[in-house]
């Protein structure tokens, strides 16, 4: 398996923290500070690879739509533990990246 991106590691960490609790797409995007355009392709890939399970949940309040919820499978938990988020790049490096 190729190396995971920083975004993937962050999302896995958030899901790992959630444990057996289900998470939703928007909530995940906010907690991981990742855009939805990044998070959905990532969730699709993790689910296809068996690291993530997904289910439709009925709303607690009437009149609201059902929501798609996600949590790590056992192999997903192993993957998340083996790939913790990396250290944040130093500000100076980020400045250079911006200039280049």
């Amino acid at each position: 398996m190729r190396a995971l991106s920083p975004h993937a590691r962050t999302v896995l960490a958030v899901l790992l923290d959630a444990g057996v609790q289900w998470s939703h797409g928007y909530e995940l995007a906010q907690l991981a500070d990742v855009k939805s355009g990044t998070i959905y392709p990532l969730l699709i890939r993790l689910e296809a690879q068996g690291y993530l399970e997904a289910e439709w949940q009925q709303p607690a309040e009437g009149g609201r739509p059902p929501r798609h919820a996600y949590r790590l499978t056992a192999s997903g938990v192993q993957l998340a533990r083996a790939n913790p988020p990396g250290p944040t790049a130093a500000p100076t490096v980020r400045r250079w990246e911006a200039i280049i």
Partner: protein, 392 residues
């Protein structure tokens, strides 16, 4: 933007996402839609949806592009590690549109090889590659199976004729020829994009509006004037007249011959443009490899027509017209200062080739369909639906 409008745009974006996602990813489209509906803030919901649309669109487009190849081993299953190259080869031979996509990719790559050897600016290479992406994306999006009425083909052909007339009257003029439209700093040639698909569409569905559109297009080409496109028009309709002659074809052929004659009456004074015109011969002066790349790429354009003709007797007229379109374009480039399709610099022919693939059946030898009971003459096959929708 009002809150109501933001919600409507959000809903529109969700619908667009669901429209482009393949069936295997439809549940994810619903997931985004439901998630957006659960976000109380209208602006955040809109941004969330638009970002999801942007993020998932490349995957959706890739799925559509890979679908013909993924289904090669049967039942629409994705390619497995055990699938052999020969299986893919034989299966591709039975799928004219997939073969056309492979030919387009091969020709563009060979054209890029030629330009790289000849020292063309990098921007040219990028534009050709970008045009391929645009063309195949349009093919993927327009090729979706949606039922539509035959009458829309005639309307679409008339609309295309209108665009060609508008180009003749309002387009950018160079040395007395008005064939181009400026778009985002680039000059595109609408006739090279639209005429191939228009001609193959006419081959599949002939009616009074479609014939009127072809006559108007012939007039537009004569006005531009464009000898290469007029020759393409005349050659295709002559080919069609030999295989499937009816009154619509005879009228259209007469108009196209008159158009071609009118373009012959005008002196064509446009000089050759580097990396665009006269490269079928000049490429060998650059390097033998460059010359072979140009010739090989040009030959690839005709492969779907040749293979389809030999393997799919039900749709021979379609393959003949498709082959005549691109043979005429290649011949025009060989005989005069006209763009060398696909292998030379320029995105219009690349997009035009990809769009013309809409007219090819997805599966060679598929039984002809029934059920279009409208005015006109129609050669039917399952892929008619795609073409009609694409043109409409």
């Amino acid at each position: 933007m009002s809150a109501g409008l933001r919600r409507r745009v959000t809903d529109l974006a969700c619908r667009a996402l669901q429209a482009i996602l393949p069936p295997s990813l439809q549940s994810w489209g619903w997931a985004v839609r439901c998630e957006a509906a659960s976000i109380p803030d209208d602006t955040k919901a809109l941004l969330f949806t638009l970002d999801s649309l942007c993020g998932l669109m490349p995957r959706a487009v890739a799925s559509h592009l890979l679908y013909p190849f993924a289904s090669l081993i049967g039942d629409g299953a994705p390619l497995s590690e055990g699938s052999s190259i020969m299986n893919i080869f034989h299966a591709t031979m039975r799928r004219p549109r997939a073969l056309g996509i492979a030919s387009a990719i091969g020709a563009v790559v060979l054209g890029i090889v030629y330009m790289a050897i000849a020292g063309a600016p990098m921007r040219y290479l990028g534009i050709n590659a970008g045009a391929l992406v645009i063309g195949l994306t349009m093919l993927a999006l327009l090729g979706r199976p949606v039922a539509a009425g035959q009458r829309w083909t005639g309307v679409a052909i008339i609309a295309i004729a209108g665009m060609l007339l508008a180009t003749a009257f309002l387009g950018s003029e160079v040395e007395g020829a008005a064939r181009w439209v400026k778009l985002g700093g680039l000059a595109i040639q609408p006739s090279l994009i639209l005429l191939p698909v228009m001609l193959v569409a006419f081959c599949r569905t002939r009616s009074l509006p479609a014939t009127a559109g072809i006559v108007a297009a012939a007039a537009a080409i004569a006005l531009q004037p464009d000898r290469a496109m007029a020759g393409m028009l005349a050659l295709c309709l002559a080919t069609l007249a030999v295989i499937r002659r009816d009154r619509h074809v005879v009228v259209a052929l007469t108009a196209s011959v008159a158009s071609f004659a009118a373009t012959l009456a005008h002196a064509d004074t446009l000089p050759a443009v580097p990396y665009v015109d006269q490269i079928l011969y000049s490429s060998f002066n650059v390097h033998a490899g460059a010359g072979l790349a140009v010739l090989g790429g040009s030959a690839l354009l005709l492969v779907p027509a040749i293979v389809g003709w030999s393997r799919d007797a039900d749709n021979r007229a379609t393959y003949a017209v498709f082959g005549a379109v691109w043979f005429a374009a290649i011949m025009a480039a060989a005989l005069g200062n006209y763009p060398t399709p696909i292998v030379g610099y320029g995105g219009s022919a690349i997009i035009g080739y990809a769009l013309s693939l809409l007219a090819l059946p997805k599966l060679a030898g598929a039984s002809t369909g029934v059920g279009f009971g409208t005015v006109g003459t129609t050669d039917r096959s399952p892929s008619d639906h795609h073409l009609l929708v694409a043109l409409a």
